[in-house]
C-alpha cells in the first residue's frame, strides 16, 4: 500500500516534469525556414557545399595552375581541365589553363577536388539554387573569360606562396 501511494505520486511528478519540458519547447523560437520568402535572411552554414567556384581575386586572376589533380581525383569525372600551351617572353613553352569545366549535374559534392587542390584554387559557395531547364546549362565554366592565373615568382618562392594561400583560405 505504501509502495502504491509512493509510485502514484512519483508517477505524477514524472509526468508533470515531462509536461514542463514540452511546455518549454512550445515557447521556444521555431526553426522552420520559410524558404522562398526569406531567401535574403535565411541562415546559411559556412561549410555548406552549394556550388564549386574559382577563388578569384579582384584583378580577375585565379590560382589554378592547370595541374589537373582535381579532375583526376574526381570520382565521377565532373571536372574537365582543358589546357593550352603558350610561349612566355623568355621563350619557354608553358602549360596554362584554357577552360575549367564543372558538370554540376554529376557532382556529388564530396569535396575531394578542393582537398586535392594544392593551390587552393577552387572552393565552395553557399549558393544552392541550381535549378535549370536544360541539363547542358549545368556544365559551367569556372574560369571567367579573360581571366588568367596569378603571375608566379620563380620556383624558389613558390613553396612560400602556397602556405600563404592556405592561410587565406582558413581565414575565410
Amino acid at each position: 500500500m505504501k509502495k502504491y501511494i509512493k509510485d502514484l505520486f512519483s508517477g505524477i511528478y514524472a509526468l508533470l516534469q515531462g509536461m514542463y519540458i514540452t511546455n518549454l519547447n512550445f515557447w521556444r523560437p521555431k526553426v522552420t525556414e520559410q524558404y522562398p520568402e526569406d531567401r535574403q535572411t535565411a541562415r546559411q552554414f559556412e561549410r555548406f557545399r552549394g556550388e564549386l567556384v574559382f577563388d578569384m581575386n579582384d584583378q580577375n586572376e585565379h590560382k589554378c595552375i592547370a595541374c589537373g589533380l582535381c579532375a583526376r581525383n574526381c570520382p565521377n569525372q565532373s571536372l574537365e581541365v582543358i589546357t593550352k600551351s603558350i610561349t612566355t617572353e623568355d621563350g619557354k613553352t608553358k602549360k596554362v589553363l584554357d577552360k575549367f569545366l564543372y558538370d554540376l549535374g554529376s557532382c556529388t559534392f564530396c569535396s575531394v577536388c578542393t582537398q586535392s587542390c594544392a593551390q587552393k584554387a577552387i572552393k565552395w559557395t553557399n549558393n544552392f539554387e541550381h535549378a535549370v531547364f536544360n541539363r547542358s546549362a549545368l556544365v559551367k565554366q569556372l574560369n571567367p573569360e579573360g581571366s588568367k592565373a596569378i603571375e608566379r615568382k620563380p620556383a624558389v618562392a613558390a613553396p612560400k606562396a602556397a602556405p600563404a594561400a592556405g592561410q587565406n583560405e582558413n581565414q575565410q
Partner: protein, 361 residues
C-alpha cells in the same frame, strides 16, 4: 449584451407571426439541426488546424503556413480534398455493417455534442437525466468502432477494434464515476441544474474532491477519444491506422471529424461539470462585487468556448508530451489506479455532502 438569446427569440416570433404552429416548429427544428451540423463541422475544422499548429509548436516547427494567412485555410483545403477522393469499395467485407459502423460513430459523437450547453440560451438537449444521457450515448461510439474493425475483414482493423473495445469500456468506468461524484455534489443529473449550482462558485473550488474527480475525468476522457498516450486502437506504427484502415475518402473523413469533435465534447462536458459551463468566474465575497460585474459583462458563450478550448489545449499538451502506453499498462492504469481512486473519491464526496456540510451548516 452579446447574447444569442435575443436573436433566437426574434426568429421564433418572426416565424410564429407568419406561419401556423406546426410549420414554425418544423422550420425551427430544421434550423437547429442545420445549425448543429454546421457548428459540428466548424469545430472539427478549427480543432484540426489547432492540432496541427500546436503539434508543430511543441516540436519547434511552424505547422501549415501556406494556405491563407498563417495557414488558416488549411483545414478547408483538406476538407475539399477529402470530399473529392474516391471511396474504394472492398471485395470481401460486410458492406452493411461497414457503413453502419461509420454512422454509429458519427451519431454517437453528434448526439453527445448536442448535449453541450454553449451559453445561457443556446442549449440543444436538456432533460432531467442529462449526465446519464451523455454517458449512455457516448458509448455508442465503442459499438461503431468494434463494428468497423470487424466488418473491414482485416487483421489490423480487428486488433485495433479489440484494443479500442477494451480501452473504451474500461475508461468509461472512471469517467462515469467521476461524473457521478459531481452528481452527488450538485444533487441533480440535469446539466442545466449542475451549471446553475455553480453560479456562485465553480464546483472545482467547492471541494477538494472535485479536483481529483476532474483529473480522473480528464485522463479517462482523453483515453476515450483514442488520442495521446492512449492511441493504441490506431497505433500507426503497429497497426498502420487501426480500425479505420479500410475506410477511404469521406468515410475516413467522418471518423476523423468524429474523433476531433469527441475531443471537444469531452472538454465541453468537463467544462460544464467542473468549471461552471457558461458561468462567469465569480469571487464569492462582498469586496469582489465590481470584479464579478466585469466578469458578467463577458458573454456566456465566450466563457464556455474559452474554458472548453482551454481543456482542449491541455489535452493537446498531454498528447504531444507522452509516449504511447502498452495495452497492459493501459489497463493497469485504469483498473488498479484510476478506478479505486475514483471509487474512494466518490465515497469521500458522499461523506462530505451528507455529513460534513450539514455539520457546519
Amino acid at each position: 449584451m452579446l447574447e444569442v438569446g435575443g436573436i433566437l427569440s426574434w426568429i421564433h416570433e418572426a416565424l410564429s407571426s407568419s406561419c401556423p404552429e406546426w410549420l414554425t416548429l418544423l422550420i425551427e427544428y430544421v434550423l437547429i439541426g442545420v445549425g448543429f451540423l454546421a457548428l459540428y463541422a466548424l469545430i472539427a475544422l478549427i480543432l484540426i488546424l489547432l492540432e496541427r499548429k500546436v503539434c508543430a509548436y511543441y516540436q519547434c516547427r511552424l505547422g501549415p503556413m501556406r494556405a491563407g494567412f498563417w495557414g488558416l485555410l488549411q483545414p478547408f483545403a483538406d476538407m475539399i480534398k477529402i470530399l473529392m477522393k474516391e471511396i474504394i469499395p472492398l471485395l470481401k467485407n460486410d458492406k452493411f455493417l461497414f457503413f453502419t459502423a461509420l454512422f454509429l460513430v458519427i451519431i454517437g459523437s453528434l448526439c453527445t455534442f448536442g448535449a453541450l450547453q454553449f451559453s445561457k440560451d443556446l442549449v440543444g438537449i436538456d432533460f432531467n437525466v442529462g449526465v446519464f444521457y451523455v454517458l449512455a450515448i457516448s458509448s455508442l461510439g465503442v459499438l461503431g468502432i468494434l463494428l468497423a474493425g470487424w466488418s473491414s475483414n482485416n487483421k489490423y482493423t480487428m486488433i485495433g477494434a479489440m484494443r479500442a473495445g477494451a480501452q473504451l469500456v474500461s475508461y468509461e468506468l472512471s469517467s462515469g464515476l467521476s461524473l457521478l461524484t459531481i452528481v452527488i455534489l450538485g444533487g441533480t443529473m440535469q446539466l442545466s441544474g449542475l451549471i446553475e449550482a455553480q453560479s456562485e462558485t465553480w464546483f472545482l473550488f467547492q471541494t477538494p474532491f472535485t479536483w481529483i474527480a476532474m483529473v480522473i475525468y480528464l485522463i479517462a476522457g482523453h483515453a476515450e477519444t483514442n488520442r495521446g498516450p492512449f492511441d493504441l486502437p490506431e497505433a500507426e506504427s503497429e497497426l498502420t491506422a487501426g480500425y479505420h484502415i479500410e475506410y477511404s475518402g469521406i468515410t475516413f473523413g467522418l471518423f476523423y471529424v468524429g474523433e476531433y469533435v469527441n475531443m471537444f465534447t469531452i472538454a465541453g462536458i468537463g467544462t460544464m461539470v467542473f468549471l461552471g459551463g457558461w458561468q462567469p468566474f465569480h469571487i464569492n465575497a462582498e469586496w469582489a462585487a465590481g470584479f464579478n460585474g466585469v466578469m458578467d459583462m463577458i458573454p456566456t458563450w465566450l466563457w464556455f468556448f474559452a474554458k472548453a478550448f482551454g481543456l482542449v489545449m491541455l489535452s493537446l499538451w498531454v498528447r504531444w508530451s507522452f509516449p504511447r502506453l502498452r495495452i497492459d499498462q493501459l489497463l493497469h492504469l485504469e483498473w488498479k489506479i484510476l478506478m479505486p481512486i475514483s471509487l474512494l473519491n466518490m465515497l469521500l464526496m458522499a461523506l462530505w455532502v451528507t455529513v460534513l456540510v450539514p455539520l457546519f451548516a
